[in-house]
């Protein structure tokens, strides 16, 4: 009974303030919804020669750089790079690697879940995120000689050619 009374008192005291805050927030929410090309992840670590190619443009990788769908990540002979995706998937690459992010969907509310990429050469350290947890069969990593289905886990892969 006491909890109920105190909660009502608290709510009525706070509500006017909150409504003011709300009006200020509305345009912000709209602006966020209108953003079309969402980064699906960010470069979090870079060493030596490492580049990101998106929409036919190649730039040197740097920490905090956005990774979008279709991006190709490459490292040189002394290069390495780490990426974290929005679903908490963590990937890092050793020297002479090339990886393409082919498909990505992380909308749990709409049950749109997909993560697919291919490594054409080099080494990859992969720790799966929320997509693999919610829908393991939605996560797939291709190599030139076969496909790895990820069932929620940490693994390493080496592609020599």
């Amino acid at each position: 009974m006491m909890t109920c009374d105190s909660s009502r008192a608290m709510t009525s005291r706070i509500r006017p303030l909150l409504i003011v805050g709300l009006l200020a927030l509305a345009p912000l929410a709209q602006a966020q919804a209108q953003t079309l090309v969402e980064p699906v992840g960010y470069i979090m670590k870079v060493q030596g020669e490492a580049t990101v190619t998106s929409r036919d443009q190649t730039i040197d990788a740097s920490i905090g750089q956005a990774v979008i769908l279709g991006a190709v990540l490459r490292t040189g002979a002394d290069g390495a790079m780490g990426v974290t995706l929005s679903d908490n998937t963590v990937m890092s690459f050793g020297p002479n690697s090339e990886f393409t992010l082919d498909e990505y969907a992380f909308e749990p509310a709409r049950e749109e879940l997909r993560l697919s990429g291919h490594i054409s050469r080099g080494t990859l350290n992969f720790i799966s995120g929320v997509i693999a947890k919610l829908k393991p069969e939605a996560v797939e990593l291709k190599t030139p000689t076969g496909t790895i289905g990820v069932r929620g886990t940490h693994f390493l892969v080496k592609v020599v050619q």
Binding site: T3, T11, L28, K45, N88, F93, T123, H154, F155, L156
Partner: protein, 196 residues
């Protein structure tokens, strides 16, 4: 011939199994469990579900799992492993009823949370507000957003460098403790800070 034999022997000794082609190795997950991977190639399907188990992908003979030792992992993957980003982390802060004010306990914990975020270095941060089911869903959606905004403001006020900061509300749609409608539940009145 002798040379080839010696090299093969050396590989065997040093790397506990010299794999020449493409291969995959399963490791223990950061949470201490071990998951699984399923490899499909021209020779069929192979499943790995034990740590340090490896298998060639598209090898000449039928795929047979083998043990991959620490030396071999270090030899092939030390650079990739060294480039692994900080693992994603999650923090919860709790709020007083109907309010965007932290509980006393969370008030005490909040500086440690921000310090942990600062120590990671620039990260992508999602701040998600939640409520209990006490009020209506529409109001709770707004209250969740106001709570999340309050936490985002605290981050900004402390000048914590972020790569990306997203603020959103799940209102009463994502309860930590499942309750019927109209229930006051302190553990549901929270903001989740997801840092990756």
């Amino acid at each position: 011939m002798l040379l080839r034999y010696s090299v093969a022997l050396l590989c065997l000794v040093l790397l506990s199994g010299c794999v020449t082609g493409n291969y995959v190795v399963l490791l223990e997950s950061p949470d201490g469990t071990t998951g699984a991977v399923v490899i499909d190639d021209a020779k069929g399907q192979t499943r790995l579900d034990q740590a340090h188990q490896g298998v060639t992908i598209g090898g000449a003979s039928a795929a047979r799992p083998f043990n991959v030792g620490q030396l071999r992992i270090a030899h092939d993957f030390s650079a990739a492993l060294a480039a692994q980003p900080a693992l994603p982390q999650r923090f919860q802060l709790y709020f007083k009823i109907g309010s965007a004010e932290l509980t006393e306990e969370s008030e005490r914990a909040v500086e440690q949370v921000f310090e942990a975020i600062r120590l990671r270095g620039p990260s992508a941060v999602s701040v998600i507000g939640h409520t209990d089911t006490l009020s209506g869903p529409y109001w709770n959606e707004q209250l969740g957003l106001i709570r999340a905004q309050a936490v985002a403001d605290m981050l900004r006020n402390r000048a914590i460098e972020v790569i990306d900061l997203r603020v959103s509300s799940h209102g009463e749609r994502n309860l930590l403790i499942d309750t019927p409608d109209g229930v006051s539940e302190p553990r549901n009145r929270r903001v989740e800070i997801s840092v990756r």
